[in-house]
Symmetry: C2
């Protein structure tokens, strides 16, 4: 790889002049032009990480993700990276593999590596997260879960639940099944709480809760095992993936969607519109949450005050997997 010696020789200037150029020191326009030409030709890139260990700012930030699976996270990562590139910041990504102990370790070890800030895609948050984030004392933003006293950006899952609830209330369904993942994921639990805040108002509506996993097959099996007993006319899935599993199960039982049964999800993944039938669901601003979190983190790094908590909006997308019973 090229080094300062090579540049000095090819540009016909001294090493200290090259060094001044690379560190934005005082230098004539003509000389700068000559050096720039050589630097570009050689694809020379200064060792910024080594520099960062001496300097205050590393111009790099890290994100911790729980796993490599999932549509929404990829969209958000893409917009974080795009925003950081416009500010000449680098993004490093580390994966906790859905292991909370590992995630806490990563927070400490990454903070120790002189990045300027961290964005955590949280699936669960524990007291240990709270302690670690306070310990490391670097700009820190949590995406997707709320944590008292820590900067966080979340989707409006409660409102999302309410929007589905209002749609059901207005379409005459009375026998509802909810396919959720239990209580440990607080943001997904909020969807259920929002839904119930609306449906509770109508005493003729019954909602049966089923606990499933995040994968399609868990929902598929639960549907096959419980449909005959419940015969719900509307299935609320806590995620689009769960909705795909329910629909697959209903088709296996030769039921027509939405004629016999309505199904809606939460998420609006790229497949949700392409799926047959196209899925009624809630659309969250995955790209915005990435851009905003990156912008807020850089604000924090630059000492600008930002709000402790931001809640983004969401939208109901009515497609072909649901219908009104009444007109």
């Amino acid at each position: 790889m090229a080094n300062i010696n090579d540049i000095s020789k090819l540009a016909g200037v001294s090493k200290s002049t090259v060094s001044r150029y690379l560190n934005n020191g005082s230098i004539s326009k003509n000389t700068a032009k000559k050096i720039k030409k050589v630097v570009d030709e050689l694809n020379y890139i200064p060792n910024t990480f080594a520099q960062s260990l001496k300097a205050t700012n590393s111009n790099s930030i890290a994100t911790i993700i729980p796993n490599f699976i999932g549509f929404s996270k990829n969209i958000s990562l893409n917009s974080i990276d795009a925003f950081l590139k416009t500010k000449s910041y680098k993004l490093f990504i580390s994966n906790s593999n859905d292991n909370m102990k590992e995630e806490i370790k990563l927070i400490y070890s990454i903070a120790n590596q002189k990045v300027d800030g961290i964005i955590l895609f949280a699936s669960q948050v524990t007291d240990e997260h709270y302690r670690a984030i306070n310990d490391v004392k670097i700009p820190f933003i949590v995406i997707g879960q709320e944590l008292d006293g820590i900067h966080c950006i979340v989707h409006n899952d409660y409102k999302a639940g309410k929007l589905i609830g209002e749609y059901i209330l207005n379409s005459g369904h009375k026998n509802i099944s909810y396919f959720g993942v239990g209580d440990y994921d607080k943001s997904i639990k909020s969807r259920y709480l929002g839904l119930m805040s609306v449906l509770e108002k109508d005493k003729t509506i019954k909602v049966k809760y089923h606990t499933v996993g995040f994968d399609v097959y868990s929902a598929y099996n639960m549907l096959i095992n419980t449909y005959k007993k419940n015969k719900s006319t509307y299935y609320v899935a806590a995620t689009d993936n769960i909705a795909f599993g329910i629909i697959k199960g209903l088709k296996k039982l030769n039921l027509d969607i939405p004629k016999d049964v309505s199904v809606s999800g939460f998420g609006d993944y790229d497949m949700s519109m392409i799926f047959n039938p196209a899925l009624t669901t809630i659309s969250f601003p995955y790209s915005d949450i990435g851009t905003i979190s990156a912008k807020m983190l850089l604000d924090m790094i630059n000492g600008i005050d930002i709000p402790k908590k931001m809640v983004l909006d969401c939208e109901l997308k009515i497609r072909n997997s649901t219908r009104r019973l009444c007109t």
Copy 2:
């Protein structure tokens, strides 16, 4: 964050003893136990990146990905990370945003940052890639594209094409449409070449090539605009995503799949089995390619000879989106 002073105080030993412990120096079992307890309680993690700048090995490797979109890459990243964790290696991920100039820059800048090796998920490879990889002189593996003289691991796209070709040959379809993405992605082009190597043998078979993008809607629109003219009974899509778009278009035209038209893809994404109808496609070992590339990279780092090129196997999955015309 905790430092060596804190550990020294809490464990009641001198700083130099703590330092000896952290650097695996000579120390009594009892003292080691005391220090370990404190280190664990404090979640203390030594600054390995700073250490790595002095040491030969950083125990970290980097991957460069073209974007954050895509099922197959996520599966492979997951298995790379899982393998590296078992060897106490860290993984850093950087994104080139499908910008080849950016990708070349990343190769130089990451190599400069004292990682022990690089895995590149390649979508295109150019002469500049070849030059950069030779320039940086660190262990380097390319996934997904072949590059003469550079270590690479690829899927067997040619065989994948042949498998679809043999299936078509045996099921009596004569009027075939191929939805491809053009020539620039060599591995996807190999699928077409493999397909044609089989279908050319039967002079009664006609294949019409259509160039589309990687997104679902490009294929959807192409299908809507060309179906009436071609009336093919079998559509070969170069990826599962393209197949989803074709199926969406055929349904829009009120055609039954597979009764009226057969459609197959390449990829076997997680949605392909869940889709209605479940997609006939080629399954590639995405998880294996990740594990093998990580293992080979660590072998290279440790000076062990590895083959220049590995080609992994693939498998035809016949599902409900295709049928035989003859019995």
